[in-house]
Subunit: 457 residues, 2 copies
């Protein structure tokens, strides 16, 4: 990747001769690069014409100033932040929090946290919902509710909003209760904007032309992050730096183009399962964010020939899933390509002490030069990549020098930028999601919404 980018893309286990028939040669990549180069030029043109709006987010920073103002207004008076949102209005928030705050964050006393506890309520299971209500309901006056819905048409978020608003008003009275609501929605249109204007809720904007799954670097993802002490400027500057790299017109250098080309070529060879496997607990939920980005953008009927296309993204976790999925990954069908995320320097590391002298199954751990948990984790990654190679399973690695706002911002922007390239290679529009509509309409029908009396088909 370019010199000012901190992430490194390592593709040696795509090209290794031990892969046999499952190897991609330099020639195979070179054969597809002219087409990918054409796509990069097309995207650059379209971008200048105002498309691919997510690409401008780290530069134009729409709504970010209002986010920081809201954080200044609410940070100190909030012990619990409830995010009501689902899909693209939740996955980015969860991913940022897991990556950039401690695993035990919600358990810590306030002085050890950089902000309120965070609960991202991305489901309507009543048992789960009431467990959180019971907890935050111990002090509604120090709870803040961030409702995220561009349209206001999402049944799950609307149902949650109706309930939480009632509880706030019951506990605090109408004026004070409704003051604890911040709505993130469209600047001008839709049901939720209408409600915001009528009820005079504090609001943040979902910028125009940026779909849910591309919205983590907008107020959708940034408000909860900033409330919890995450450095939004560093996230955006990481994304901006990556823009330079993924704007390179040469697909052999542009990391987004290279990732797209490799996946495309492997799909032609029947490898349509794309496994993202971070060797880092912090990056686990970024793989879940990726899962939506990939599936909803690329799982489509091709308009030109009605073919059902789209890779199936799979989230895994190293080293944990070595003890769950690696048997299948090595001996199952040759239908998978692996992307590892590796961390070079962990924020803290733990020396493994020597113990149980004479018991070699314990002693080597404390004797090893690599005898830290971080050292062990990275060795497990190396061992897994080699074991996959021995079974002719290709993998690539994205190396994070460290996990921080800068590198997470780079990663998000990199993977978002792969999408329009993959979309053009597969012949689908990566920005729509037509197949999600029927389920929504059927829900409206069964719930008795006016205008949906007839069973949709």
């Amino acid at each position: 990747m370019a010199a000012n980018i901190q992430l490194k893309l390592d593709t040696q286990y795509i090209h290794d001769s031990r892969l046999g028939l499952h190897r991609l040669s330099a020639e195979q990549l070179n054969d597809v690069y002219p087409r990918v180069g054409g796509i990069l030029a097309e995207i650059a043109d379209e971008r200048r014409a105002g498309r691919h709006r997510f690409r401008e987010l780290p530069h134009e920073r729409p709504g970010v100033e209002a986010v920081m103002q809201a954080v200044a207004d609410y940070h100190d008076s909030t012990d619990n932040l409830l995010v009501l949102g689902i899909g693209g209005s939740a996955l980015g928030n969860i991913a940022l929090q897991s990556a950039l705050n401690p695993y035990t964050y919600n358990l810590l006393p306030r002085e050890d946290r950089r902000g309120p506890r965070l609960f991202v309520l991305d489901n309507v299971d009543p048992v789960y919902f009431e467990a959180v209500m019971d907890f935050v309901g111990r002090d509604w006056s120090r709870t803040l509710v961030n409702v995220i819905s561009k349209s206001g048409e999402t049944a799950e978020t609307s149902a949650q909003f109706l309930i939480v608003r009632n509880r706030l008003v019951e506990a605090l009275g109408k004026a004070e209760g409704e003051d604890r609501i911040v709505v993130t929605t469209d600047a001008a249109h839709g049901t939720m904007r209408k409600i915001v204007n009528e009820q005079k809720y504090r609001s943040l904007i979902v910028p125009d032309g940026v779909g849910g799954r591309f919205s983590v670097l907008t107020p959708v993802g940034l408000f909860s992050a900033a409330m919890c002490g995450i450095d939004v400027d560093a996230l955006l500057s990481g994304a901006a730096a990556m823009d330079a790299a993924v704007s390179n017109p040469d697909p052999a250098i542009n990391p987004a183009a290279k990732i797209a080309a490799i996946h495309y070529l492997y799909m032609e060879l029947g490898k349509s399962l794309h496994v993202m496997m971070p060797y880092s607990q912090q990056l686990k939920d970024l793989a879940d964010w990726y899962r939506q980005l990939w599936a909803e953008s690329l799982g489509k009927i091709r308009p030109d020939n009605q073919e059902n296309v789209g890779p199936t993204p799979i989230r895994a976790l190293g080293a944990t899933d070595q003890h769950s999925q690696v048997q299948l990954y090595r001996e199952g069908p040759h239908d998978k390509v692996f992307t590892f995320l590796e961390v070079e320097e962990f924020d803290v590391d733990t020396i493994i002490p020597r113990g149980f002298p004479g018991v070699e199954a314990m002693e080597y751990l404390g004797r090893s030069e690599e005898g830290t948990l971080g050292g062990l984790l990275n060795i497990e990654k190396k061992a897994t990549a080699l074991a996959l190679l021995a079974s002719q399973r290709p993998s690539m690695t994205i190396r994070f020098p460290a996990v921080n706002e800068r590198t997470v911002g780079e990663f998000i922007y990199l993977y978002e930028s792969v999408i329009p390239i993959m979309g053009k290679l597969l012949g689908v529009n990566p920005y729509d999601q037509p197949a999600v509509e029927l389920g929504k309409q059927l829900t409206f029908h069964f719930m008795g919404r006016q205008g949906y009396e007839k069973m949709p088909e």
Copy 2:
């Protein structure tokens, strides 16, 4: 399923004519049932000869009495329970806890919890590990450590054990510190048993002949569950009841046989991605437990023809993943079969209040006869199943009348019992995991363990 079983298996969306070419007819199932019936007879014979040992667990209850004794001894003196284990020594523990204790369990004050906080440390990421150490280290004297390793050869668990033991001894002194360790391991053999005997640790047993991924209903899964107030007898009685159903020699009635036959026939039709999608936050981690069971048992090289076989299990979550994966599930390749888990009666439910009069996008939710969160969630499930059907995607549903120890015990035993049937249909041994070895040996090599000086291949 049989009359005394509470779970219900609904296969109507396997047989619906709207599936077109993706429908399974009654005839197709009838054609494979003689073979499956033969397999059931074979398994019954093998079971009488002492194989399929997991089938005896709910009746023989090996080690359960010792579990209950340890709970009696440690429950009241423990505020934090650390489980050190990975793979089959973690996934069952996590699944039971998520299913049967509140989402906010660890956050609650002691009087609102049925036992200690639970931390299942199934990775060696140092940042994650130290976050938990920092939290429990606030009072080591009320922390209990349950190390789970049948052999003592698992690098991740051994490394954690060395570190945690040192911290305990540093904080409490050798005698008191080592008293806060309970080791779950083989009764007679292996490195860990040797250490237990030498150091005189309190121990619980991993019964003979039960592999890690089948061990949740042994002391491996039951100790942490019982410590956290989960009713182990009810779990085991659910499993025992399911034994009657899955022992039925008629594959048209036996639910395990039916599930295996359907998946097998669909694999023949190219549908090798098996998506388990609970519409219940509580059942989410049971789908992760299933993911190991399925992948590690069935992802194999067939010994007779060296073919790489095995379905890829995928965990999803309703309604959440409607906003992430359903676009792909409906329009992507025809490579998936879906199993929904549905809950008929939630422990608590929440009425959605009416609000925002005149705004129909909000009002219908509070007006609906189904206007509770549980009602909405089940309607979303129905809508998704129908939307998949409209795209000719087959699904089946397992209905839980309620989520409790009894039904969770039934579910675990049901899915475990599918495995030997699937193994015989696919021509693989479901109880080994040969492909996991190379990665372990490479780790030993890179970590400098004696006897692994030569790079394994």
